[in-house]
């Protein structure tokens, strides 16, 4: 019959009114006959879902002109609504599941099943009920070709659908909004999240047929209300990608961290990391794609190339957000120490956690779980205290202890001041601003080496992920460099050059003349009050028994005789102290 004029950019309307103004009687007559049809971008006509020959997408019919027919028919429809024109796909989907999902997820139903009648890739696009033969598609395409929009029968890597989202679920989960507030673009269908909650198949205003923009994860946030999120750098940062390396945001059009928000790490469909729909299965890559200097300022990725590190790349899919605070199976991922929904730039002083460690669960000084950790060491205690699979001590000592919670306990005869200020009121070597009232972080010693390295115990060229060199091999010639770690707080000058028995007889003699490392006599963390005492184990004295042996009477001990005074029973470097006092 007559021609329909499709002019993108305008709403369906006729131009009668406009043309009448031109006072051209002939044109008025023609217009009445013609009724130019003008189409705007929010019509299905201009979307990829126009599968007719006039469609704008790459997948379209060879010659079929009808648009609605691919989904709807006015008569003899399938039992599915609305007036559905396609058969239902088989209900044999591999479903999403994760330890953090509280919803009950069953096989897709409702309108999601309609979407899947194309988007699982099993039913030909042109296979509609109202036609005897399938509508031929251009290029001989039958089913949806492989790609992002073909979800396949494995929808375990897609955001779950067809689950009831009610106040009960929101209450159990604790990080979902009450669905009663969903009066805007995100809608439920019979209390269930379905594809149409996020997608409007007829309208493509926000790309991917989304019902709202996902800039700053607006769409996600209609339902998801993550604890701590509002103050998180991942919500607030305006950092952009410098264009180096791989694109950290391959599935969005957004260009800042804040704009990408959830999608910095998560992918709602065909997620490579199925559990929790992570962009990538290898947990740490989700972080390091930005934390490599290409988006985030600090290059954490480089730290993990060093020989001594929290080896996040050495473990795959062992970490679980629901795991006990006390880690049972040894592993480490970025999320063991950092909460990406909470991390921020808030500074702190020891022992309090900085913003980088905000919102992370831990174990307190009494061995009790807590969430979030208040103090930094509480995060370390997850693995280095009561964990049955904790790393061993690197040094064999008189008193063996590799539970660092016991080592740092503030009731101990001596300890480095991690949980509280130390017990020794007299530490002349301390370099200001350190005083005997100071508290330090675990990460003041255990941190990435290098002057400008990012904070935190990511990776180091020194064993035990120490920030500075700390040689422990016996007969090490003393220098500022070999004990740089100790000397960063304890003045080398005071330690080895001060006059009097403490400087002369104890430290200079042993460290300089005998080439004995600090580590041979001192146990840097502390000695548990359950094993040591205030006579024999003050000043972190706990001999390395690979070097220090009992004296000729079998005695191996230190005795504290007051300020700068003590007595040792031992054999070392061929010398017998039986005892020797200072």
């Amino acid at each position: 019959m007559w021609q329909t004029v499709l002019i993108p950019g305008y709403k369906y309307s006729n131009l009668n009114a406009v043309i009448r103004l031109k006072a051209n009687i002939i044109k008025i007559v023609f217009t009445v006959i013609l009724i130019p049809v003008i189409v705007c971008p929010q019509s299905i006509v201009n979307t990829k879902h126009n599968l007719s020959v006039s469609g704008s997408g790459s997948i379209k019919a060879e010659s079929e002109t009808e648009i609605c027919v691919f989904c709807h028919t006015p008569h003899n429809s399938s039992p599915q609504k609305p007036l559905w024109n396609r058969e239902d796909p088989a209900l044999n989907y591999n479903l999403y599941s994760s330890s953090t999902t509280d919803a009950t997820i069953a096989q897709p139903d409702g309108s999601s099943l309609l979407c899947l009648s194309c988007h699982d890739g099993t039913i030909a696009l042109g296979n509609v009920l109202s036609r005897t033969l399938p509508i031929p598609m251009a290029g001989g395409i039958t089913t949806l070709p492989p790609g992002n929009s073909n979800l396949t029968k494995d929808i375990s890597d897609d955001h779950p659908v067809s689950f009831v989202y009610n106040p009960t679920l929101a209450g159990i989960d604790g990080q979902l909004n009450n669905p009663a507030i969903l009066t805007g673009p995100v809608k439920l269908e019979n209390q269930k999240v379905q594809c149409i909650s996020c997608h409007d198949p007829h309208t493509d205003l926000f790309n991917k047929f989304l019902t709202a923009t996902n800039q700053q994860s607006e769409l996600c946030n209609y339902c998801h209300d993550r604890t701590y999120w509002n103050s998180s750098n991942h919500k607030l940062s305006s950092s952009t990608w410098n264009g180096m390396g791989s694109d950290p945001w391959p599935h969005t059009e957004f260009t800042t961290v804040a704009e990408n928000a959830c999608e910095n790490c998560h992918n709602p469909h065909t997620a490579n990391g199925k559990l929790r729909l992570m962009n990538l299965q290898q947990e740490e890559i989700n972080c390091l794609n930005c934390h490599n200097g290409n988006v985030a300022e600090q290059n954490i990725e480089t730290q993990f190339t060093k020989p001594y590190k929290h080896n996040v790349s050495g473990y795959l899919q062992i970490h679980d957000p629901e795991e006990p605070n006390v880690v049972q199976t040894r592993h480490v991922e970025c999320e063991d120490c950092h909460n990406p929904h909470a991390s921020n730039n808030q500074s702190a002083t020891p022992p309090y956690v900085s913003g980088m460690l905000a919102g992370v669960k831990g174990v307190n000084t009494n061995g009790n779980d807590l969430n979030p950790s208040q103090y930094e060491y509480e995060i370390c205690y997850r693995c280095h205290a009561d964990s049955p699979d904790k790393p061993p001590s690197p040094t064999i000592r008189q008193i063996e202890q590799n539970n660092v919670r016991y080592e740092f306990d503030m009731g101990n005869p001596s300890f480095h001041p991690v949980e509280s200020a130390g017990v020794n009121p007299n530490v002349p070597s301390l370099i200001p601003p350190y005083t005997t009232s100071s508290i330090i972080y675990c990460s003041d010693c255990h941190a990435s080496d290098g002057t400008n390295s990012p904070k935190g115990s990511h990776g180091s060229i020194y064993p035990q992920i120490l920030k500075l060199q700390y040689l422990t091999t016996d007969y090490t010639p003393e220098s500022a460099a070999v004990y740089a770690l100790c000397y960063s707080c304890h003045s080398r000058e005071v330690i080895i050059n001060s006059t009097g028995s403490f400087g002369n007889n104890v430290h200079r003699r042993h460290i300089v003349w005998e080439n004995t490392p600090c580590n041979i006599c001192h146990d840097p963390h502390g000695i548990s009050s359950m094993q040591g005492n205030t006579t024999n184990n003050t000043h972190l004295i706990n001999y390395n028994t690979a070097v220090v042996q009992p004296d000729n009477l079998g005695r191996l001990r230190f005795e504290d005789n007051g300020t700068f005074r003590g007595r040792c029973y031992l054999t070392c470097h061929g010398e017998v102290h039986s005892p020797r006092s200072y």
């Binding site: 019959m1 329909t4 023609f30 013609l34 007719s52 009808e66 648009i67 006015p74 399938s78 007036l83």
Partner: protein, 204 residues
């Protein structure tokens, strides 16, 4: 000038189309079927003694259906005025529900030819586009996916209300012209190339 030539072409085609738009030889021309009658109008109409049971039925001659239909329902259906088919739609269904024989007209009730194939909608209309509901500005506003019938112009030149609705209701005759006045497939009033008919009302 170029535009005018195109427009003239269009009006020419339109005129030619009109000349063929008639019931004769259309799917509703049963004169050659060998049953009932050789007249074209008689299966539906009679000049005298017509059945006036159904209001406004135009000189009705065919036995009417007594079916109580199963109606369309859907969670996304906005109308609250959907009723049993009424007015002219009931006349259509007097053949198209498959319960009344085609030749049951003029008082005959013993016909043996029933409608078949896709044209037989059956007694369940749950899988058919709803009919006999009021489509007005209120419904369009409530639905959000329908054009305002009072203002939206159809391909026929008037508003939806003027061109397609009957007494503010959507009926079979909103989409179909039983007399093939427009010479479209399926007796449609507006051809459905590019789904223009659907998109006349549906703002999708």
């Amino acid at each position: 000038m170029k535009i005018n030539i195109q427009l003239l072409s269009v009006i020419f085609i339109f005129t030619v189309s009109i000349s063929f738009a008639q019931i004769a030889n259309s799917p509703h021309d049963f004169s050659g079927q060998g049953w009932g009658t050789t007249e074209i109008c008689e299966p539906c109409h009679t000049p005298h003694n017509s059945d006036a049971t159904i209001a406004d039925a135009p000189l009705w001659n065919h036995q009417t259906t007594t079916t109580t239909f199963t109606l369309y329902s859907s969670s996304t259906l906005t109308t609250t005025t959907l009723t049993q088919p009424d007015a002219s739609s009931k006349l259509c269904l007097s053949c198209h529900d498959g319960t009344v024989a085609l030749e049951n007209f003029g008082g005959n009730t013993g016909g043996t030819h029933f409608i078949g194939g896709n044209a037989n909608l059956g007694t369940t209309l749950a899988n058919d586009h709803p009919i006999s509901f009021i489509y007005n500005t209120t419904l369009a506003t409530a639905d959000g996916g329908l054009y305002d019938p009072a203002t939206h112009i159809t391909e026929l030149g008037g508003t939806i209300e003027e061109d397609l609705l009957i007494g503010s209701k959507l009926q079979c005759a909103s989409c179909h012209d039983a007399h093939n006045g427009y010479n479209n497939p399926s007796l449609l009033k507006i051809g459905n190339d590019a789904s223009i008919l659907c998109l006349t009302c549906h703002d999708k």
